[in-house]
């Protein structure tokens, strides 16, 4: 999408200036965008959060925030997006991290070489001081030939000066060799100088547009640009002798396996205590049990009973088993809201601290087993927040093969925060053994599916090459705002689904259709999964949203084992409608459908197998079955690992 199309979509007039904010990942583009537009966007301390752009208006201007890139070309989906935007922009705000000029100036010089109108925002100048660095802004301005403004976007410093300088944006001092050559070339080809440069650099899309063979000077030009970037940063930096700070040392300890894995387990444990215990039990007992079921629901029923017969169709729709005013609202506000807030709080803390790239380093080796590299940790962890958003984030993965694997695993085995909310609520009733077994089964399915895909899909996975940001103490205000905005967004989307879903269920029940569906699904629910026929409701609703389906389990009188089987099947079940639409959009109809059907099939297949195994083992050892199953799974995993190890040696 280029700026004009975006402008049309945003309903901008003809005299709009298009201002595109670009920069390397994690330099504060989004924070700057927010400060400029007064809008909210996510700010994160890890590469790849902004994979789709956001835009906002400042007066008659349209400001566009973009995903972080290291150069202008089409190495991945995000870069293609940025390339199209900068080529059509009126002003480019290039955000550079004042502490990482050497790296960031490559992109700046790339933009200048392309002949685009640039203003440089020298961001995080406050942190530079902490590193004992100082940047000579005036020399930088002179060397680059474009305005350079110091900013500290998270503190909203310098943004006004930046907005003031926008009209001073200009083409900077190009590589002298290119300065002579590009205008001539552009004239001959009848295209822009920017396109001419991209062609020289072998950009496939530019070559396609111009219908010419791609040029072969990429490395030559890249190397020259790199040398210039290094020289410039050498000139404008003061000296940089610095003590290793505590955070530096912590960052180091976090990636060494001997200390890193215990830290990872410790952090996961703490997060579980926060979400699984504090939010899922203490808070939810209060909000759902006390507030909603204790006060709110009886209150509503008493009031409505004064006006209508609660047994009438309307009464059933409003306050019955799937009541719009009772079940839908209680689940939404009493259960979903506190849990989703808990999950997003954790996710925001993880993102803003810069811990996730360190997890990516730790997990690189393990993820290679399923054909992914460490970078895939980011979409997978995000998936525990929202599978839809995570599916979009897979764009940061370098190859199509990896995106395919990651999207499939997200659809199959990663429950989103809403579903986790219900899973946690149910699991906390079933006990620790079932919880561990649940984690092992879902994880096992994920690993097995990934291994099969890694074997079957053609091609190779790209190796890891990841820029690791500084470890930072998350800013509380940033974390809280982000948590709130994301939770609010999520609940806004969930609200119509819960209300609509409850309405549909009530209607199906009143018309008798529910019975018919339950009967037709009996071979699967009763015959294969050994669940009561009413569980069909949960699966039907699960087609719309897995969490809504999972919520349906809460209302059913099921034994512990039955709840467990339902939980496993529903976790593996197809993701929500929104995710499915994104999968179709990202992968096309054909592949999307194959993914959807495979996930559906696997969910029932594995659910049934678990049900049978649980039934068999319970018959032998009684209620200790989950513990025994955990033991058996550990032995199985150890056995498989052993076989793999020895077969490689032979």
């Amino acid at each position: 999408m280029d700026c004009r199309e975006l402008g049309k979509k945003a309903g901008m007039a003809g005299n709009t200036r298009y201002i595109v904010v670009v920069g390397n990942p994690n330099v504060g583009k989004t924070a700057l965008f927010n400060a400029m537009t007064g809008l909210y966007g996510d700010v994160s301390n890890f590469p790849g959060t902004t994979v789709e752009m956001c835009y906002g208006r400042v007066g008659r201007d349209l400001v566009v925030d973009t995903p972080g890139v290291y150069g202008i070309s089409s190495f991945n989906g995000a870069e293609k997006l940025v390339r199209d935007l900068v080529l059509t922009a009126d002003v480019i705000v290039d955000v550079v991290d004042a502490a990482n000029l050497e790296r960031d100036l490559f992109l700046t010089l790339h933009l200048i070489d392309l002949g685009l109108p640039v203003v440089v925002a020298l961001n995080m100048s406050d942190e530079t001081a902490r590193h004992g660095l100082c940047v000579d802004r005036k020399s930088l301005e002179k060397i680059l030939g474009v305005p350079v403004v110091s900013t500290a976007a998270v503190k909203k410093e310098g943004t006004e000066a930046l907005v003031g300088e926008l009209s001073a944006a200009r083409r900077g001092h190009r590589d002298p060799h290119l300065a002579g050559r590009l205008p001539e070339m552009a004239g001959e080809l009848g295209t822009s100088e920017a396109m001419a440069l991209l062609l020289l650099e072998g950009d496939a899309a530019a070559a396609g547009t111009l219908d010419l063979p791609p040029g072969s000077e990429k490395m030559l030009l890249y190397n020259k640009r790199r040398v210039r970037a290094n020289e410039i940063s050498g000139i404008v930096y003061g000296l940089n002798q610095q003590e290793k700070s505590f955070l530096d040392k912590l960052g180091q300890v976090m990636i060494r396996p001997a200390t890193g894995f215990p830290i990872l387990i410790l952090i996961m444990g703490l997060l579980y205590l926060l979400v699984g215990v504090l939010f899922a039990q203490v808070v939810v007992n209060f909000t759902q049990g006390r507030l909603m079921e204790g006060y709110y629901e009886p209150f509503i029923r008493t009031i409505l009973a004064g006006y209508m017969d609660l047994g009438s169709p309307i009464g059933v729709i409003l306050t019955g088993q799937f009541g719009l005013l009772t079940m839908a609202i209680t689940y939404l506000l009493g259960l979903l809201a506190p849990l989703v807030i808990g999950f997003f709080l954790v996710l925001s803390l993880l993102e803003d601290s810069g811990y996730l790239p360190r997890v990516a380093i730790l997990m690189d080796r393990l993820l290679s087993v399923v054909g992914l590299n460490g970078m895939a940790v980011i979409p997978i962890v995000l998936g525990f927040g929202c599978v839809t958003a995570a599916t979009i984030t897979t764009r940061l993965l370098p190859t199509d093969r990896e995106r395919r694997i990651a999207i499939f695993l997200l659809a199959l085995a990663v429950p989103c925060s809403a579903q986790l909310a219900f899973v946690t609520a149910i699991m906390s009733r079933l006990g620790t053994a079932f919880f561990i077994l649940y984690v092992m089964i879902i994880l096992g399915v994920m690993v097995a599916a990934g291994m099969v895909l890694a074997r079957v899909l053609p091609g190779f996975s790209a190796p890891l090459m990841l820029n690791v940001p500084q470890l930072r103490l998350p800013r509380p205000d940033n974390v809280l705002i982000k948590t709130w905005m994301r939770s609010w967004q999520f609940l806004k989307e969930a609200f119509p689904v819960f209300v609509g879903g409850a309405l549909i269920l009530s209607l199906l029940r009143l018309t008798g259709t529910l019975d018919a569906i339950q009967n037709s699904m009996e071979p699967i629910t009763v015959g294969w999964l050994n669940l009561p026929r009413e569980s069909a409701n949960a699966f039907i609703m699960g087609l719309i949203r897995r969490d809504f389906g999972t919520a349906g389990i809460l209302g059913l009188p099921l034994s512990a084992g039955e709840q467990f089987v339902a939980m496993v099947s529903l976790t593996l079940f197809v993701p929500c409608i929104a995710s499915v639409m994104i999968i179709f959009k990202e992968r096309g109809w054909k592949e999307g459908f194959v993914i959807w059907i495979s996930v559906l099939f696997l969910a029932f297949l594995i659910g049934g197998l678990v049900s049978r195994a649980l039934w068999l083992i319970t018959g032998v050892v009684g209620p200790q079955a989950p513990v025994l199953m955990i033991g058996m799974l550990i032995l199985l995993a150890a056995g498989l690992a052993g076989v793999a190890f020895f077969s490689r040696r032979v």
């Binding site: 290291y70 150069g71 070309s73 190495f75 502490a99 990482n100 050497e102 790296r103 490559f106 992109l107 590193h131 990429k218 490395m219 890249y222 190397n223 640009r225 790199r226 970037a229 290094n230 050498g234 940089n240 960052g251 180091q252 990636i255 060494r256 396996p257 790239p357 990516a360 380093i361 730790l362 690189d364 080796r365 290679s368 590299n373 460490g374 190796p463 890891l464 090459m465 990841l466 820029n467 690791v468 500084q470």
Partner: protein
């Protein structure tokens, strides 16, 4: 030798990168062929982390096996530092 063989704390120069894509990305990151970097961490079986100035870059083991490096002696280090 190759990058995966380097030791923690060792100062090395990157001599060869395996392919065009890696070379382009490395150049953007600021570690093209010829750059002197410090090996910050070698994760057993996992990635190698190198630093240059305040920047840290993690490189997957498979890729590290394909990157040619040479140790830089302490005398050269000073020269390299001076030229920055």
């Amino acid at each position: 030798m190759t990058l995966d063989r380097s030791k923690r704390g060792q100062v090395i120069r990157i001599i060869s990168l395996p392919d065009e894509m890696t070379r382009a990305q490395a150049t953007r990151f600021g570690i093209p062929e010829g750059t002197v970097v410090t090996c910050r961490e070698v994760i057993p079986m996992g990635p190698v982390v190198i630093t240059r100035h305040r920047q840290e870059i993690a490189i997957g083991r498979k890729l590290a096996r394909l990157i040619g490096v040479e140790p830089v002696s302490s005398g050269e280090q000073c020269a390299a530092a001076d030229s920055l």
